[in-house]
């Protein structure tokens, strides 16, 4: 994703006076609210929820904002520009550590256990050099991740540590997911922390997954994204937050059982996506339960890395 844009949008967000959101009432008497999501195919789930009138039943008329990158969503929610957004538990815990009053209301996506019992992982380290077999072999190597000080380096460092290696000997560099395969092919990096659809393509080209580097190795049942709001909104308008929590809950439960509805909705939100990829996409990623254990695990890793001051504010983050 565009890092320049991210930085700029943060600056824009900072210069805009807080509180220009708030939402109004639409002609049909529904409350207009904005949900900020990272641009991805999974956003189609909200449209399915709207189709099923889960939001209307709660008196809500959501609009989805994917224009801003992930890093801009936290400031946008904190400043009241939008009511709800998704973010990673890593970012949310770090934000709480710094005193930003944000609180999760529902889960969103995760590396949950699928219906057939196999663990679905969204990210793994791929390498080209056959001598890099397990996490420990990453010592002295360079690994590309999409953002530094986030899920990627947190879980990979844990994987290396767990395998008996020294995580400080791994160099992490930041680049967009789309730039990673090129950098790996050119030998600029030794490993890339990537996800579908890149994994399938790259494995077909002879690259291999590095053992023990699944997210689920470091954090079982990892929640990749949570839906959150600001403490201010919870205090000022608890009914709105409760209504949104119920509507999202119904939506998540529904899409978990009806992945085909989501798949059918993807082309309307992501017109440019290749239909062949849409057909292959793993949509078994929606979480219905906001579990405490993975968050505590992440909190412990953050403390270990000294990215936050202990203790991690799990209670403050959970609803």
């Amino acid at each position: 994703m565009n890092r320049v844009g991210r930085t700029l949008s943060v600056l824009v967000a900072l210069t805009l006076v807080a509180g220009c959101g708030g939402g109004g009432e639409s002609a049909d008497g529904l409350r207009e609210v904005t949900i900020g999501l990272v641009p991805a195919a999974v956003t189609a789930a909200i449209h399915v929820g709207i189709d099923q009138k889960f939001f209307e039943q709660e008196g809500l008329k959501p609009s989805i904002e994917t224009g801003q990158g992930g890093a801009a969503l936290l400031p946008a929610v904190a400043s009241g520009q939008m009511e709800f957004a998704s973010s990673t538990p890593v970012s949310l815990l770090m934000a709480r550590d710094r005193g930003l009053k944000v609180r999760a209301i529902t889960p969103w996506t995760g590396d949950g256990t699928s219906a057939d019992g196999t663990v679905k992982s969204s990210n793994v380290v791929l390498a080209k050099d056959p001598s890099i077999r397990s996490a420990r072999d990453l010592e002295g190597r360079t690994v590309a991740i999409n953002a530094l000080r986030s899920v990627g380096d947190l879980t990979i460092r844990e994987a290396v540590r767990h395998a008996g290696g020294n995580p400080d000997k791994v160099t992490f560099v930041e680049m967009g997911f789309a730039d990673m395969p090129g950098a790996l092919a050119q030998g600029h990096v030794d490993g890339i922390w990537t996800a579908e659809p890149f994994i399938t393509t790259l494995v077909a080209k002879g690259h291999h997954a590095v053992k023990q580097t699944d997210n689920s190795d470091a954090v079982p049942d990892m929640a990749t994204q949570l839906i959150f709001t600001s403490q201010k909104l919870i205090d000022d308008d608890p009914d709105l937050v409760a209504a949104m929590t119920r509507a999202l809950g119904k939506t998540l439960a529904y899409v978990k059982d009806n992945p085909d509805k989501v798949r059918a909705r993807i082309p309307t939100v992501f017109a440019e996506l290749d239909p062949a990829i849409v057909k292959r996409l793993d949509l078994d990623v929606y979480e219905t339960q906001l579990r405490r254990e993975p968050l505590e695990r992440i909190g412990r890793l953050l403390e270990l890395e000294k990215w936050i001051k202990p203790p991690a504010d799990i209670a403050g983050l959970l609803p």
Binding site: V4, V10, A13, L14, T171
Partner: protein, 254 residues
């Protein structure tokens, strides 16, 4: 006296702005808009305990390497092209095309051949900076008086002397204009290039602060970046006043 007055004139607005920032932000409890006092308190521990060497120095080195590369290529190619009308006609459409590509867009492509290390960042900076220098050097070479060219030929000035004493100096008012534009581009591109595949640098650090919600530290980085920009502009002005003393004198005379 005039010197003191010009210093006063130059500083009055910044002082007012800083004062306005200081007082309006004094009671701020907005997470992303901390009081200036808090930001300034963070400056010593954020920057003077190792980061000057670990992050600021690499940024400045990349900046000077990229900027120097752009100067060397831009001036030499620009002067050569400026001297030859046919060459100019061949090159101009290509230059207009290349200069309108924003360098950040090229970063992924540059990364493919220049790797992800310092050379990539230097190439990105040089690519962005080279155009104003090059195009102004072309103009500069064109602007040199025919009679001076004749004089140089008549008095047997060799290629080296002609480059140094005629082309470079004759085109220098234009070159300096281009170099000044390029300097601000260079500062922007240092920051942008450090957002890609970096592991140190000022731009990198500011983004890391932003991402880990260290907001006062982030602001202190932005302030530091601005201060570096001001210092570089001052240094540039000093060099310009020296190199173009003749030109300013000539213009006053006319």
């Amino acid at each position: 006296m005039r010197f003191i007055r010009s210093i006063a004139t130059a500083t009055v607005l910044p002082v007012l702005l800083v004062a306005a920032w200081w007082f309006t932000s004094l009671g701020s409890d907005d997470f992303f808009w901390p009081p200036l006092r808090d930001i300034l308190t963070e400056v010593p521990s954020t920057w003077f305990e190792g980061r000057l060497g670990a992050d600021v120095a690499p940024s400045l080195l990349r900046l000077s390497a990229g900027y120097s590369l752009a100067l060397a290529i831009g001036i030499s190619a620009g002067l050569a092209i400026g001297l030859s009308a046919p060459l100019r006609q061949y090159c101009e459409p290509v230059f207009e095309f290349l200069r309108s590509i924003p360098p950040p867009v090229l970063v992924p492509i540059i990364m493919l051949f220049a790797g992800i290390g310092d050379s990539m960042k230097i190439v990105v900076i040089a690519f962005g900076c080279v155009w104003p220098i090059l195009l102004n050097s072309v103009e500069g070479a064109r602007s040199i008086d025919e009679v001076l060219h004749d004089t140089a030929r008549v008095y047997g000035l060799g290629p080296a002397a002609r480059f140094r004493h005629l082309l470079l100096r004759g085109a220098s008012p234009h070159i300096v204009t281009g170099a000044r534009q390029a300097l601000s581009i260079a500062i922007i591109l240092v920051v942008i290039s450090e957002m890609f595949a970096a592991s140190n640098g000022l731009g990198f650090t500011i983004v890391q602060f932003q991402r880990s919600f260290a907001i006062p530290q982030m602001w202190s980085g932005i302030l530091l970046l601005g201060a570096i920009g001001v210092i570089l502009a001052l240094v540039f002005k000093l060099v310009e006043n020296r190199v173009l003393a003749w030109y300013f004198g000539l213009r006053r005379k006319q």
